[in-house]
């Protein structure tokens, strides 16, 4: 489903073609399947014919130079671009076999299944408790206060924040340190019990210790959730992921097992990027 080139067609510059992506785009037990995904912001063609699969139990790292469309791809997976005024998306993304862009899918319900953690910690201007409880409240996951307490406590526990904030659950979430805030945002996401967690450079605003904590957390969460993480750090991609997707100028260049990508990249662009020659 090729679309005619537009004025600022990023993909056209890359001389893109049907040869992409190289590597192995399919997963044995697919959770998310992306087909012919294209995205535009006005005239900017931000995603061009992206197609690959993300399997159950997988941590997929999205890497690529700045502006290549990683965030855009992530936002297509929970339809967060719906509300962006001149954004347009075509193609198909299925979650457990169902196309999330079909008319019958309610984006609100979809986002309860596909959670997202942002680059900059963005706790709500509410208490720590309410930050975590919010998602559970709006989706009606708890029938009484005790259940809600339970959800809040287990979520905070899982991100390792409970012992740090147990005494100050009523204080504003914005009073926490950056790393704590980011873990709070992860807790708030898992409180809704999604299947997939999207993470957009979750550690880029954090110091190395907080980063290590988040990485440990990702390891732990990967047992239960499908995780798609955008990162600019090759080390982080190598540490936390089991598959890597490399993007360049709106196109998916290469997908494959993390070890294989870092030891034996198939595409020249991938090799250049991971060895630090571009990006």
């Amino acid at each position: 489903m090729r679309t005619p080139s537009k004025a600022n067609d990023v993909a056209a510059d890359a001389g893109g073609g049907p040869e992409f992506p190289v590597g192995d785009p399919s997963a044995p037990d697919p959770c998310i399947q992306i087909r012919d995904l294209n995205a535009w912001y006005g005239d900017i063609h931000a995603l061009c014919d992206v197609g690959f699969e993300i399997g159950h139990g997988e941590v997929l790292a999205l890497i690529g130079p700045s502006g290549c469309g990683k965030t855009t791809l992530l936002r297509c997976l929970n339809r967060l671009n719906d509300a962006v005024e001149d954004a347009r998306v075509t193609g198909e993304v299925t979650l457990d076999g169902q196309n999330i862009y079909s008319g019958s899918v309610d984006p609100v319900a979809l986002r309860a299944r596909v959670g997202m953690v942002f680059q900059k910690p963005n706790p709500f201007p509410k208490s720590i408790y309410d930050n975590v409880a919010y998602g559970a409240r709006i989706h009606g996951l708890a029938s009484d206060r005790a259940e809600l307490d339970e959800i809040v406590h287990t979520s905070l526990e899982r991100v390792g924040l409970l012992k740090e904030v147990r005494a100050r659950l009523d204080e504003p979430g914005t009073d926490l340190s950056g790393g704590q805030q980011q873990r709070l945002c992860i807790a708030r996401t898992i409180a809704v019990d999604p299947e997939v967690i999207l993470m957009d450079e979750p550690c880029s605003a954090l110091d190395p210790i907080a980063t290590a904590k988040i990485e440990d957390l990702i390891d732990e969460l990967s047992a239960e959730y499908v995780i798609v993480i955008v990162t600019h750090s090759m080390q982080q991609a190598a540490r936390v992921s089991n598959r890597v997707a490399y993007m360049n100028q709106g196109q998916l260049v290469e997908v494959g097992e993390t070890d294989r990508i870092f030891t034996n990249p198939l595409h020249k662009l991938t090799e250049d990027y991971i060895t630090g020659r571009i990006g």
């Binding site: 005024e85 998602g135 989706h139 914005t174």
Partner: protein, 460 residues
């Protein structure tokens, strides 16, 4: 030489001194690339020289303007013929006043003594101006000379100029503060005179307001005539009605334009709302009298209620609509200032538009919204025209919105309209009311700002 020419002269002096100081610095620094050998950029030496040239004459000019008239009159009085010198101070003042009037009139007065005095007065004024111009030129030249002597490569011209700028800014803010303090003092002073006639407790807690009755001498300060409770209750009642309209309509419309409307609708809706703010209050006033009040009356009567022709409800409702744009645009700003990242965080959790707006954005925007509301309350309390026209002048101590009430501002207006003795209790009461109004709005602002600040700390 008149004041305008003196000022023009000083401006010319400033430009000259600037060019002179700059070229002197450049010469000292050694021509091209001079800046490197100088402490400051050459321009700063120019500004410094200009300041030296202009500041002393300006100071003298200010003092002169303040005292010239008095000195000239004193000199004139000393030179008057003996029979005039013998007059009592009051009569002398009267005479001097007629001299001044004659001087500003074009024709020569008929009375020869007065004519002579007027001539003398005019010539004294002329010499004073010449003296002033001479002094200004001398001081300016002296300033330039002083600048000439101080300019050398190590001279910290930039620091001097920065200091001068700082003092200039301090003076500017000083003017604003001093004006406020001055007004407050003047009002308090007159209010104190009022409280010599009427006791404070009677004024604050009395339930009857009827200043007209106190005009007759035997009744000045008579019991229960200057009780301001009815005015306070009227003000409060109308403000509450107005805010009951303005707060919900203002916040909800802001919520729509900031959160829901597309860019195009927003670009259309905001200016339209803002136009409401540009309608003169007197127009709102007759809108209230001619349309809203009769309408309320008709509806009230069909329900079997007793509605006064001029009711607090009519005034309050219309005032509320007048204030909507204020609340709305300040709320809109506050809502749009909420970071998009927070909004997206909620969206990514699966919150619907209204959930985001009410649960996330509204609480985060609250400080700004509260600030807007407090401004609006101040505005409602201070508004006069609509109330004069629509709510009447009857000082009823009542919280019935269907009755006619009056407000503090309306009473101030009626007390001061027409010819008044300046020191009658009736006139002075206006100052006391003004003082109360000032204190109320100040308290509102202090409380409001405190609230805003506390909120900010929590959510920033």
């Amino acid at each position: 030489m008149d004041l305008t020419s003196i000022l023009l002269l000083l401006a010319g002096l400033a430009v000259g001194a600037f060019l002179f100081g700059r070229s002197r610095a450049q010469a000292l620094g050694g021509g091209v690339g001079a800046a490197r050998n100088l402490h400051s950029l050459p321009d700063y030496y120019g500004y410094f020289a200009a300041l030296c040239a202009v500041l002393p004459p300006l100071m003298v000019l200010t003092l002169w303007a303040a005292f010239e008239e008095r000195v000239v009159l004193a000199l004139l009085a000393n030179g008057l013929p003996d029979h005039l010198q013998a007059l009592s101070p009051g009569q002398l003042d009267l005479f001097l006043n007629s001299v001044r009037n004659a001087a500003s009139a074009a024709s020569v007065p008929a009375d020869p003594v007065l004519a002579a005095a007027t001539d003398e007065y005019l010539s004294l004024g002329r010499s004073s101006r010449w003296l002033l111009s001479g002094l200004a030129v001398v001081l300016g030249a002296g300033g330039v000379a002083a600048a000439w002597r101080s300019i050398h490569p190590a001279f910290r011209a930039r620091n001097r100029v920065e200091t001068a700028i700082r003092w200039f800014l301090i003076a500017a803010s000083g003017v604003a503060v001093l004006t406020t303090v001055g007004i407050l003092l003047a009002v308090s002073f007159e209010a104190l005179r009022f409280f010599r006639d009427v006791s404070l407790s009677e004024f604050l807690f009395g339930t009857t307001w009827s200043p007209q009755a106190a005009i007759r001498d035997d009744q000045i300060g008579s019991a229960g005539r200057f009780g301001m409770l009815p005015l306070l209750s009227g003000t409060l009642l109308i403000a509450v009605i107005a805010m009951a309209v303005a707060i919900p309509v203002g916040i909800l419309s802001a919520m729509y334009t900031a959160e829901y409307a597309s860019t195009r609708v927003r670009a259309l809706a905001r200016p339209v709302l803002e136009i409401l703010a540009g309608i003169p209050t007197v127009v709102y006033g007759f809108f209230a009298v001619l349309m809203v009040a009769p309408w309320i009356r008709t509806i009230g009567e069909s329900l079997g209620l007793n509605v006064a022709a001029e009711s607090a409800l009519a005034a309050g409702l219309v005032m509320g609509f007048m204030i909507v744009p204020l609340v709305s645009s300040l709320s809109d700003e506050a809502i749009r200032a909420v970071p998009a990242s927070i909004r997206e965080g909620a969206e990514a959790l699966g919150a619907t538009r209204s959930e985001i707006a009410l649960d996330i954005v509204l609480p985060a925007a609250m400080p700004g919204i509260v600030g807007g509301i407090l401004l609006a309350v101040s505005r409602a309390i201070g508004e006069t025209m609509i109330v004069v026209m629509a709510a009447g002048l009857a000082a009823n101590l009542s919280f019935n919105p269907l009755e006619s009430v009056t407000t503090v501002t309306v009473q101030i207006t009626t007390l001061l309209v027409g010819d008044q003795e300046f020191d009658s209790a009736r006139t002075l009461a206006a100052f006391a009311l003004g003082l109360v109004l000032f204190i109320i709005t100040m308290l509102l602002n202090v409380v409001g700002l405190g609230y805003v600040r506390r909120y900010r700390e929590r959510y920033e």
